[in-house]
């Protein structure tokens, strides 16, 4: 038995909210985006946008070739099913709110180009794209609890 057991609710939504907040702050101070730890929020945002682009939200841990575990607990099942619901909805709403009629793939590409610019400091996108991405990040952060 370990010294303590804590119920660890999935924190994907909270992390995504924090990452959106940090990415917004990097738009105000791009030099912060070059710091070592800044790749974490930027890469995570890039990755969940890829998940949205391909509607690829299956993310269950793989247990190997055969499993000796017993049945799944209700808590495990709830967590498995629910982790992406809020993020997926917030991403969709924020993209629509910020990019309007722009096709989703294109909107995702624009946000990702801003994230890449922040991470690398090169290939700055047009100011309008940066402004729309800033709006997207604000909306996304607000939509998450």
């Amino acid at each position: 038995m370990t010294i303590g057991y804590l119920l660890q609710p999935d924190q994907s939504g909270q992390l995504a909210k924090r990452f959106a907040h940090l990415a917004s702050s990097y738009l105000d101070q791009p030099e912060d985006a070059q710091k070592l730890g800044a790749t974490i929020p930027l890469e995570n945002l890039f990755r969940i946008l890829e998940m949205l682009r391909y509607e690829a939200f299956s993310d269950e841990p793989s247990g190997g070739i055969i499993s000796f575990e017993s049945v799944e607990s209700p808590l495990e099942r709830q967590q498995r099913e629910a982790w992406h619901t809020e993020i997926r909805q917030a991403l969709g709403e924020a993209l629509t709110g910020s990019f309007g009629e722009v096709p989703r793939d294109q909107a995702i590409g624009q946000v990702q180009s801003v994230l890449r610019w922040l991470a690398s400091g090169t290939n700055a996108p047009p100011d309008a794209t940066i402004a729309t991405t800033r709006d997207f990040l604000r909306r996304f952060e607000e939509l998450l609890q």
């Binding site: 804590l6 660890q8 999935d10 924190q11 994907s12 939504g13 909270q14 992390l15 995504a16 924090r18 990452f19 710091k35 070592l36 730890g37 800044a38 790749t39 974490i40 929020p41 930027l42 890469e43 995570n44 890039f46 990755r47 969940i48 890829e50 998940m51 682009r53 391909y54 509607e55 690829a56 299956s58 993310d59 269950e60 841990p61 793989s62 247990g63 190997g64 070739i65 055969i66 499993s67 000796f68 575990e69 017993s70 049945v71 799944e72 209700p74 099942r77 498995r80 982790w83 992406h84 993020i87 990702q112 994230l115 890449r116 991470a119 690398s120």
Partner: protein, 437 residues
Amino acid sequence: MHSPRGILLDECDNLQRVLDETLRSNYGLEGSEDFYTECQARLAYIKSELVNTPEDEHQNLQKSAELLQALSDLLSRIERSSIEHYSWPFVDELKKIALALCTEATLAGPNTPPYVFVLSEGGPGAYAIRPEQQRPSGASRRIHTITLPRTLKHFVLLHAILGHEIGHAMFRCSKHQADLANILSTQLLPGSSLATPATAAAWIYSPNAPIHVRQQLTDLAIRFGVTQGNLWNNFNFNQWREEILCDFLGIMTFGPSFVAAESNVLYGLNPSGAQVGPFHPPTGCRLTYLLSASRLLGYSTRTFSDSELSKSVAAFWAKLEAKRPTDPWYTLFTDAQIQAAANAMANLLHPLPPASYQPPDEEDLLLFTRQFANAVPPVGSYLNNDKAVHCRKIDFRNILEAGWIAATTSSLSFDKLNRLCEYGILQQQAVNISLKA
């Protein structure tokens, strides 16, 4: 006394020391510097979050504590990765397939390979690839862990089962997930027993199910209250579908060796082949559709101009067929469903070399047969009648296939055959380098 935040900041310093100790050593990690940079980024992020979190924001502190725990778990796994404990020639080849299948778009560019390291632990049940999850986490670039059984260090013939595990990692790449899920939902599953959770439960609880299955279901009802109505509240239907998908990816990437390896390992762990798992379908079902796929892909019906080789290959397949359950309950898919799914997967893998399995030339199999007969490693290098050395490029999966055929007909022990194949893979790497020069 430390405050909670103080304890966590101390732990950041501890982790920094572990990181410096772990990745400065030779743990067989190709690109140790990349791992170091990635882990440094993770630690720097957590530390900056902690520094900016007030003492009374307990929820945020706990979030950082969890990220720290995940990072320390990762570092201790990396620390236990030692090339002395696994077959590195095999792993070198496996990584080429894994990287081709798991390359994804990241901040760095449109085709970024993941980081991969190998852990060796446990016995046959340990085979796994554990891709880091895609959901928001403390990771920048994802690090995948390949787990090989410590006890089976040299058993490269069984390692072909990792074709299945690579499938899990591929399914965790967004750009492939939609295509793979589409193959399942449009080609393989419609009209089958696994079309929906309800049809799957009805099939499992069918009165025609084998006695071993019905006994297990009775036991599950008594011990856990699991019934046909609540089966998928306790078992994982999506995981079942993914496991089947990965079996198909296994045969499409490793060919006959995968079928032989999966059959040997899974029946070794579950001799009846009837166990209905929470995450995996019964072994008997898996072997049934893999053998059907082998026939439809022409693997098990292939003949050769050399009659002895034809006999050996036929004996290999006959031995596998003998493991196929006779009860029709184990048959999940029709030939048409299997053929359609295999075709679709072949189209998906074709542009991702060297992922697709290519059957060996007869000439290569004959060469390997002669080499096994002389108890020397199977490799694409030989002396011709003039005693001149001839070399040719041969895929390591063809060496494995020859090894499995020899395992049916040769008097060499399975251990000896595995070691010869491992040496063969290593020597073939040298041959390939010489051919490039």
